[in-house]
Amino acid sequence: MSSKDTILQRLRNRSGGEITAPDCDFSVLRRPDWSTGEKLDLFQKMIESVHGEVHRTTESEWVGVLAGLLQSRGARTMLVSPVQKIGLALKEAANSRDDLPDLLLYDEAIEQWQEELFTTVDVGITSTRGAIAETGSLILWPSADEPRLMSLVPPFHVAVLYASELYATFHEAMQAQRWHESMPTNALLVSGPSKTADIEQTLVYGVHGPKELIVLVIE
Amino acid sequence: MTDPIKFYPPKPEKVYFFGTCLIDLFYPDAGMAGIQLLEREGIEVLYPEDQTCCGQPAFTSGYHDDARAVARSQLDLFPENWPIVVPSGSCGGMMRKHYPGLFKDTPDDVRAAEVAGRVWELTDFLLNVCHIKLKDLGEPATVAMHTSCTARREMGVAAVGPALLNQLENVELVEQIRAEECCGFGGTFAIRHPEISGAMVSEKVDALVDTGAKDFVTTDCGCLMNIDGFAGKNQKPIKGQHILSFLWQRTDAGSQNSPVNASEKGDKQ
């Protein structure tokens, strides 16, 4: 008998008999019907408390805001998606401005250029699939267009969030976006720059993930 | 799965008094004080002569056959539907919370559950059933409350002791740091793991001393002998009493000539 069969048989033939499955009432997770403004304020407060940086801007201004932020940090290279909206907008903008970092397109399998990603790329910029106000969390939904490592390897991660896509709670977001119907290879909640408290509970930011997280909120 | 909200009975004419073996042997004054407090509230106290012990020491040691034998001998002592009041969070908890499980799968299961349902910790009963109003006759005093883990977590009476003490207008109640942390008694734990228990009681005594109070009170004799015993051996300036002794002494006219904050001395008579 295979290990699988051994284990399942033991579980199915339990001496205690059948276990009653209790009902599960998720209403304790519900939060009041906050307005977009309230959700955004809460989101900002939560993510700022863990060193996330939030800039409220508009569809027409975000590129300029981004350029300014990255210049002040001395960022020289920025990884963008070659086909996703943000990447396209930046490629276009790069034609007419010189204050953006050099754009690098993520259009090759990582095996071809891993060393370069790890050592030369300063910024990764990604879209989001909304955010959660209660915990200050961005919803990232990597795909073939926006690969996973974009938001992980470069020391700066910039995320573009539309204020209209703010949810109060994780439960709400998951239900509203019907996650159970189809999950990507890797979905994530990102709630700040990487950190650790393993050295005598001293909080240190910037461990293996990005050192800084910048959220551009488009209102 | 939430613990049910307590439904207190209306104030009864009579109660059964289950004294507990520790009070019987070491702190009978506390037992008498509890009985007198109840009688002063106009309640007739029935003291079943055949009471011995709730069975907890054997129960927590894993010797459930022996615990059950002792507990079973107590089940018949409370035949009428009067509340059973217990001057201990620990013994009260044993009877109220653990008797049903102990007698599961036995012919006594219904009886045990019925008895368990009538058990009340005594200070809880005084406050929330008798609605006792205490008049302080004593001199100004400062005291700390040690709420036992069972009083807190099994009987849910952490607010009761402080509420009663706060009724005494000349008593200042102070709180020690980490008040909710165990004193280290744990019944046979103190014997099986003496060093860990010793470390726990040492810190508890320090916390009590740091309040500036010279005295503490508690509902539980196990904690009392643990903390008092350590303080005594190590000459720490804190001594304890059962809260019932303290409350009786403060409010009984006939007790005002005794030293107000005297701790329980077995030889006092």
């Binding site: 009432d25 969390s137 | 019987d24 499980g101 165990c182 003496p194 860990i196």
Partner: protein, 479 residues
Amino acid sequence: MNTTAEQSPHQIDVKEFHPRARAALGDPQIRKNFRNAMNGLMSKRTAAFEGWDVETLRDLGANVRMRALANLPDLLEQLEQKLTENGVRVHWAVDADEACRIVRDICVARDAKSVIKGKSMVSEEMELNHYLHEQGIEALESDLGEYIVQLAEETPSHIIMPAIHKNTDEISKLLHEKTGTDLSHDANYLTASARLQMREKFMNADVGVSGVNFAVAETGTLCLVENEGNGRMTTTVPPCHIAVTGIEKVVPNLEDVTALLALLTRSATGQHITTYFNMISGPRKTDELDGPEEVHLVLVDNGRSTIYQDDQLLDTLRCIRCGACMNHCPVYTRVGGHTYGTTYPGPIGKILMPHLIGLDEGRHLPSASSLCGACGEVCPVKIPIPDLLVRLRQEAVDGDRLHPGKVKGHGAKRSSVEAMIWKGWGLMHAKPALYRFGTGIAAKFRKLQPGKIGGWTQYRTAPALAPKTLHQRMKERQQ
């Protein structure tokens, strides 16, 4: 457990609990490190739950876990089916040894020589690192706390914060000695050095091994919480990802995760959420540019299906490994995690380990508790830990003829002397007249009470017998 020639840091005699406890109690550094750390974790948890109806939330957590356990075998099959559809290879391991062999076989098939590890308590339970090392495969921990513990050749002392027993000075010296960093009390500098060292490892590792916090049957999704980013690195960069989990971690629906996550991070470290919540449902798709090409899940039983048999002991399997129990435990706080000598320390360790190692080996675990109940009060899934400790004490002494012992090693702690003492105690206390007689004599001859009563009088004066028992005084009163 693996029997290997070289000394594993896991090689410890669990029975020698008392000497280790004494040593820890006498070590001011351990006392201080743990006291401070636990105080911080307790207050953070309280702060994180402010504004919540915590009791209702815990009820939900308990119900979610019980609903999962009620359907465990079906859920595991559903999980396997969904994961397989998603392209994940699912393996089943009856015990830790088999789980190690499965991991090794995957590595060997890929000619893998280096494994990078995300934090996984199940892999500690498996003693995986030691096993792989014996097989000539390097396994390096990437979580900073686990990395520190690995460098020190120790085992974790806490299930969430593995290096909690070390202070900055100790860590600085360790990193200096083992990796050449400067001696420094600057946590930023020490962390930055670890980051640099680890990046190279992430890039070059052949295999990434991780744990799983929740496995969702509905969608075939593996969920992981972390703050550092090493978990994402481990599960994204190497070409092969192996996840290991206990079989009890599966939940039916994605929705269940929202309740458990809300409880887990707040109970563990007082965080509303960890920096990353990673949800993995498969390997790299054909059009994707990164992610592992192979993803495996190893489902580990290792005694869990045995715990599952019993209605009371079953509650042990609700655990979501938050660590709140040990954070609030007055015993753990004073003796620290290593005193237990087991993979899982603290209250959860005491109720879980006897099933894994037996009550003979684990004989001191169930009794190392004052039954204060602080653990049960904070458990996010309402495991009745004190009740389970009492049950295990009964099992350890075969103390209930109505419920014969079932747990591995039951009866190991039964001593004929103690059994006789309780028998005698029982006889006296079940016979009221005998009790009154005996206690009356004790009161009368109280001056003969021994001054030394074993462990009690080592630290305390003995309690004084009263001149008259309450029984005697009540009798007089009635006359």
